[in-house]
């Protein structure tokens, strides 16, 4: 295994916490669904973190891939009566294909251009979700998406929580292995300097497109799981605001390590629950938090707290 002992122990701790959580809270439905959403967000940010932190590329359009996964599952099960597995796999294939086709010209662009191109792509997909109403149900959405089931046993509550987080941990393992492998080293080289990486024989554009496709696949899986969990989807869940929120999770958590993305997903999934009382303040609070993190902890809260912790220990 190409993995560090510390990473493995954190994964085991997460698995343990998720494992006992439903029993500690008396299988409270609200807490379980909160954790399911956290897992889905973590899945997507995992891919985004690989893309941003390791390949140095920014995407403001990942809500589109999340939506492609969700609508693939929704449309194939509701409109065509196929099994959820078919929707899940189709979503992955569709997202990968779209990411590949969009990625080739887009990843040639740098920095700001890449950000705006992905933003434009995301908006176009959002418009399609609204306009292709014979498939998607248009702005009023698609309802009656069946729950996942193993045989006759529907996967609900705790079982669904374990499914989502099991998948998150698997993808996490995979991503950590990827980072510590030849591919990961190549990606960091690309991030450092594309020119220097190229001179060392690293095919930068190939690696970038691979990570982009991988991150789209993660997002699509998240989308399928989301659709089956809440059984109703409408375009508003896949708007620019969600792309920004995903990006925020990665940036707030920190792009230095993949754990930042998990932490960011956790914090920003829980935060709205506490901000709910603020109502009209919610968007304002998001903006303020993002701005504060960028100005005072530009490497994310994970690194920021580690630094504060080290300072506190050194001082006492």
């Amino acid at each position: 295994m190409l993995m560090k002992r510390k990473d493995l122990s954190i994964i085991l701790i997460i698995a343990f916490v998720i494992g006992v959580f439903p029993w500690l809270t008396g299988k409270n439905e609200y807490f379980i669904s909160l954790l399911v959403f956290m897992g889905i967000n973590a899945m997507i940010t995992l891919g985004l973190s690989l893309l941003m932190g390791y390949a140095g590329q920014i995407s403001l359009g990942h809500a589109a891939f999340f939506g492609l996964g969700a609508y693939s599952s929704g449309i194939l099960t509701v409109q065509y009566g196929l099994s959820p597995v078919a929707g899940f796999v189709f979503g992955i294939l569709l997202s990968a294909a779209v990411a590949y086709l969009v990625g080739i010209p887009t990843l040639r662009l740098k920095g700001h251009y890449m950000a705006v191109a992905t933003l434009g792509f995301g908006e176009i997909v959002f418009i399609l979700f609204n306009e292709l109403s014979f498939l998607t149900g248009g702005p009023s959405g698609l309802s009656g998406i069946p729950a996942l089931a193993v045989g006759d046993l529907p996967l609900e509550g705790t079982a669904y929580l374990y499914l989502v987080w099991g998948l998150v941990l698997l993808l996490l393992l995979f991503s950590l292995n990827l980072i510590n492998s030849r591919v990961g080293r190549a990606l960091r080289a690309v991030h450092g300097s594309e020119l220097a990486a190229g001179a060392m024989g690293v095919d930068a554009s190939l690696y970038k497109i691979q990570v982009f496709v991988l991150s789209a696949v993660y997002a699509s899986m998240g989308g399928s799981l989301y659709a089956h969990f809440i059984s109703f989807i409408s375009p508003s869940s896949f708007s620019l605001m969600f792309s920004i929120l995903l990006l925020m999770m990665v940036v707030v958590g920190g792009t230095e390590t993949i754990w930042g993305a998990i932490l960011g997903a956790a914090v920003l999934t829980l935060l709205p629950e506490y901000l709910r009382g603020l109502e009209d303040f919610e968007v304002l609070a998001y903006g303020a938090i993002l701005m504060a993190v960028l100005l005072f902890m530009p490497k994310g809260i994970l690194e920021g707290f580690q630094r504060l912790w080290a300072r506190a220990q050194g001082g006492s």
Binding site: A115, D280, V283, G287, M291
Partner: protein, 297 residues
């Protein structure tokens, strides 16, 4: 209405929309030229311009010119504060941080507007209460002429400022080479501040003049920014005149697209233009390779 008069109707609608995209694109260009940053909060300046104008002109019932002047002042101040608090403190920030900081600004402005004005769209009376003009069978609101006139005036003013005044030339110098500009005694940081102020002012004008036609609500910014950016890129990012022309082209394409193809897809047109240009010729139709390297107005 005959086909020809319908075409004229679309053309004028396109020119009106295009004016706004042109002004947004001009705002992008000014900040880009001074700092190399794409200000993703540019659309929010337009939104704020519209809503602040509603407050002064419709709520406080101020006379038109005073309302417009105060609106420009307020939004310019917002732009200045934004630069001071968010852009100025960044030193040697990573590219991701630079992109995210203007994004954070846009969320903050949107959140602020939602808090102050709520989620409903606001109307603003037209600048003059004259009857619509009949032109070759097309019916044109009087406000269209206000939009076109003020846009031409604003673009000419910006053009004059950058080409005929010392401060304008100093900003252009910063764009060419910040180090060389500092060597000859130009305060580069002050010029960056000025570019944000000007860009906010131009955005405010755009918002104030379009609101009587399209209404305005808190979340209009991102789409306006995207279309304005499409214009800025189409015109060859960094070229002031190019971005203005491209703004009109995109407005007209959108208006004809909405009328002749489908109104549901009208927003997709500008975005498709943006993607195709970025993918095929990122230097824009009017910007040459050489010029985009120099980043000249």
């Amino acid at each position: 209405m005959t086909f020809a008069s319908q075409m004229i109707q679309y053309l004028f609608t396109g020119l009106t929309l295009g004016s706004i995209y042109a002004l947004v694109a001009l705002g992008f260009t000014m900040i880009y030229n001074a700092t190399g940053i794409i200000n993703l909060a540019q659309g929010e300046f337009v939104m704020l311009g519209g809503l602040v104008m509603v407050f002064f002109a419709a709520v406080l019932k101020m006379p038109l010119y005073l309302g417009l002047l105060l609106t420009i002042l307020v939004v310019t101040l917002v732009g200045v504060i934004f630069e001071r608090l968010a852009i100025h403190p960044l030193k040697e920030a990573s590219l991701i941080t630079l992109i995210m900081i203007t994004l954070a600004g846009s969320i903050l402005f949107r959140g602020g507007a939602m808090f102050l004005w709520g989620k409903d769209p606001y109307a603003l009376p037209a600048f003059t209460q004259s009857r619509p003009v009949q032109f070759l069978g097309a019916t044109l609101q009087a406000q269209i002429f206000w939009v076109l006139g003020i846009t031409v005036f604003a673009v000419a003013g910006v053009h004059f400022f950058f080409n005929r005044t010392l401060i304008g030339k100093a900003i252009t110098a910063c764009a060419f080479n910040p180090l060389a500009a500092r060597l000859i005694g130009i305060n580069v940081r002050k010029m960056v501040l000025l570019s944000f102020a000007l860009s906010a002012a131009v955005g405010a004008v755009a918002g104030a003049i379009i609101t009587p036609i399209t209404l305005m609500e808190y979340d209009r910014g991102p789409l306006l920014a995207l279309k304005g950016f499409a214009a800025a890129v189409l015109g060859g990012l960094g070229s002031g005149i190019g971005s203005v022309l491209a703004g009109f082209i995109i407005g007209i394409l959108e208006s004809f697209g909405a009328g002749l193809i489908s109104s549901g897809y009208k927003d997709a047109i500008a975005l498709l233009v943006l993607l195709i240009i970025l993918w095929v010729k990122p230097t824009g139709i009017l910007g040459s390779e050489e010029e985009s390297g120099l980043k000249k107005f």
